[in-house]
């Protein structure tokens, strides 16, 4: 009896200590996570320009945003960037990581060369790329096309084309993904590869039959991170668009992304209600895409959860 009470006392004390230890994080999460989300949810139903009191307007903000063609341009561009860049990170990232995984002379130098560009921040990269993708004879890339006898392209100003420039810039950030894949590949037990070699598997077969299946948890993680990153593209688009005096998100909104649109509504038009609607749209799209990936991963993931059962 006595020992039982003392056991309960210890358990309670441990629980209390545990709660105490997580309380700073919980407080931060409530204050900087849940509370802003609740406020943002409230803002979707009000008209607020900072200067006047918020006024309840029901679903008008949703109507305004979802009836605006700019929203669909931004959504389309964002999805192109998300899937385009994710594909680059996944396919090229894994292939390069597999090539860099072998310990040959100078492997570390190649790893550093691949990783270094990803340290450049988005705005700096966009500023560097402006002259490359400039219009007409001002663009370096156009000069190359000209030498090849091809016509000039309006890389950043042609609607439907500008967004692919942002996708192309994803190559610059490939290095950070490669490092994670590399860590994943290095973490695979060499005995799997040895067994595959004994069974007569060549390099390509080892890659498909051993590396990829055992790397699926990393691929899942990277896919979700890639999608979240893609949906949040803003700095590249803003910097590229700032070059053109078109009053907004590039010529004919060619560089509009969801976050850029949110920023424009909130801090250019001071329309916080509509901006909050876009914010929630981004959240819901991220959630849906992540759920789809999780569902797919259950089908394809051959290592991790299944193995642990």
């Amino acid at each position: 009896m006595g020992s039982g009470r003392s056991k309960m006392g210890i358990e309670r004390r441990e629980k209390l200590a545990g709660l105490l230890l997580v309380s700073p994080w919980m407080a931060g999460f409530l204050l900087f996570g849940i509370f802003p989300m609740a406020v943002s949810g409230y803002l979707t139903f009000v008209k607020w320009d900072f200067l006047r009191e918020p006024r309840w307007i029901g679903l008008s903000n949703f109507e305004g945003v979802f009836r605006n063609p700019i929203f669909y341009t931004a959504l389309k561009n964002t999805l192109i960037i998300t899937f385009g860049s994710s594909l680059i990170y996944l396919v090229l990232g894994v292939v390069i990581a597999a090539m860099l995984a072998k310990d040959y002379l100078g492997a570390n130098v190649f790893r550093a060369i691949i990783f270094l560009p990803s340290l450049v921040i988005g705005t700096a990269l966009a500023s560097m790329m402006q002259p490359v993708f400039g219009n007409g004879k001002y663009g370096l890339l156009n000069q190359v096309l000209n030498l090849l006898g091809l016509p000039y392209q309006s890389w950043l100003t042609e609607p439907g084309q500008a967004v692919w420039v942002i996708v192309a810039m994803s190559f610059w950030f490939l290095g950070s993904g490669v490092i994670i894949y590399l860590a994943g590949i290095k973490g695979i037990d060499p005995s799997y590869f040895e067994a595959a070699m004994i069974d007569g598997a060549n390099g390509l077969q080892q890659f498909y039959k051993v590396t990829i299946p055992l790397l699926t948890p990393v691929l899942l993680f990277q896919s979700i991170m890639g999608i979240i990153g893609g949906l949040q593209v803003f700095d590249l688009a803003l910097t590229l668009a700032s070059e053109f005096k078109t009053g907004g998100m590039g010529n004919e909104n060619s560089l509009a992304t969801l976050v850029f649109y949110l920023y424009t509504l909130a801090f250019r038009d001071y329309n916080m209600g509509s901006a909050a609607v876009v914010g929630w749209t981004i959240f819901i799209v991220s959630l849906l895409l992540s759920l789809v990936i999780f569902r797919l991963s259950k089908k394809f993931q051959l290592f991790g959860e299944e193995e642990s059962k």
Binding site: V39, Y42, K47, W48, D49, F50, L51, R52, E53, P54, G64, I70, G134, N135, G136, Y138, S154, T157, E243, F244, K245, T246, G247, G248, M249, N251, E252, N253, T264, F267, R268, D269, Y270, N271, M272
Partner: protein, 451 residues
Amino acid sequence: MKTMKAFLSLSLIMAIILVTAACSSGNSSSESSAGSGGGSEAQQSEQSKENAAEKEVTIRYLHWASGQDEVQFRAWLDEFENSHPNIKVESEFLPYDTYNSKVKTDLISGNAADVIGFTSSDWFAYTYSNVFLDLNTLPGAQEVFGQLTEDSVAAFNVEGAQLGAPTGVGRRVPFINKDLFAKANVPLPSQTEPMTAAQWVDMMKKVQAGLEGDMMAANLFPEELLYSLALSAGSPVLSLDGKKVMVNTPEGIKAIQAFKDIMASGAQVPILDVWKGAYGNPDSALTTGKVAIGWTGNWSLNAMKEANINYMSIPAPIVEGGKVTQVGYLNSHVIPVASKNKEAAWELVKWMSSKEGQLSFGKFSDLPVNKEALAETLETLQAGDPNAFTGFAAAKESVVATPPFPSDFDTLRTGLQSKLVSDKVTAQQFAEQLEKEGQPMLDKYQANIGK
């Protein structure tokens, strides 16, 4: 509700202050008045003694400016301080790009300067937010505003409330490089008689043909070219209050076609490259030495002189049979309702609107709006530098302020402009689309800033 607004505002303010604080530069009167005219020191000291009994007040002043502009604005404020020794002006200047965020943040936080500079289009967004003082309620207002041009006063009047005091009007006209015209063997155009768009196209093509490979005949300001052509056709792009698209008329379409003819003449910098690249921008085009015709105002004169450009201003093109009309940018000063020094702030605004203040203003910035000061300034400028100012005189009586419009309308119009120039839409389709898609944008904007 108020607590929530305060909380939301505070978070935003902290973020924006961090950004804008890094870009701003403050000047106190003590820092920069050291270099002001020594001749007035005795007078100042006398006045100081007279006003010794009065309590000294320090007011805060905010305006957009950078570089030499900032120095000149500060000198202007020093002049005010010299004539009002009991009022000190603490000034803050920011580049225009970051200026409006700073103003909005200050107004939200209730920490705005006592006197704030505004352009008419930026000021418009605050029309019904009750943050600006009705200057008509202040002593001597009728007398002050009676001295200013009627159009400029009306531009800042909302239903009888004078929410801003006009200060100046910025105007641009085409400027030509006379040496490049001579090089191209093209006769100089008239400084007083405007040419039609067709004559312009002809002139530009001749200049282009006579210039060397990497030179361009013109880098004109597309928006102002379109607006002034539409005005000359009597069918402006927007109504003066910015509420209605007006250009979808036969006259307006004629103006749009004239705009297209000039921009697609092959002698103009491509429309999407007007603001960057080797040919500068419309303001700086002539100083590059590679462009024969630019589109700028008196603020570019010093740069052109330093670059040894043999310049000359000419009237903007008009449509066949159209009148000469010029687009202008009205600037003003406001006093926030929350100002704790309204009387002293009003003294500054009154002085800025007076003939004395306006004459000084006209020497370094836009043209004055005080009638007497405007006439005197124009006369002086024209006599001092006829090459620079005669071209402005053609439209002396018909300067129309740029109406306010939302940024999505701006994006729509610029997009249509580039489509027009690349033959993706006709002039008529341009006018129709601008009305069809742009009018709802204007309506929404008006509803958003409205009561």
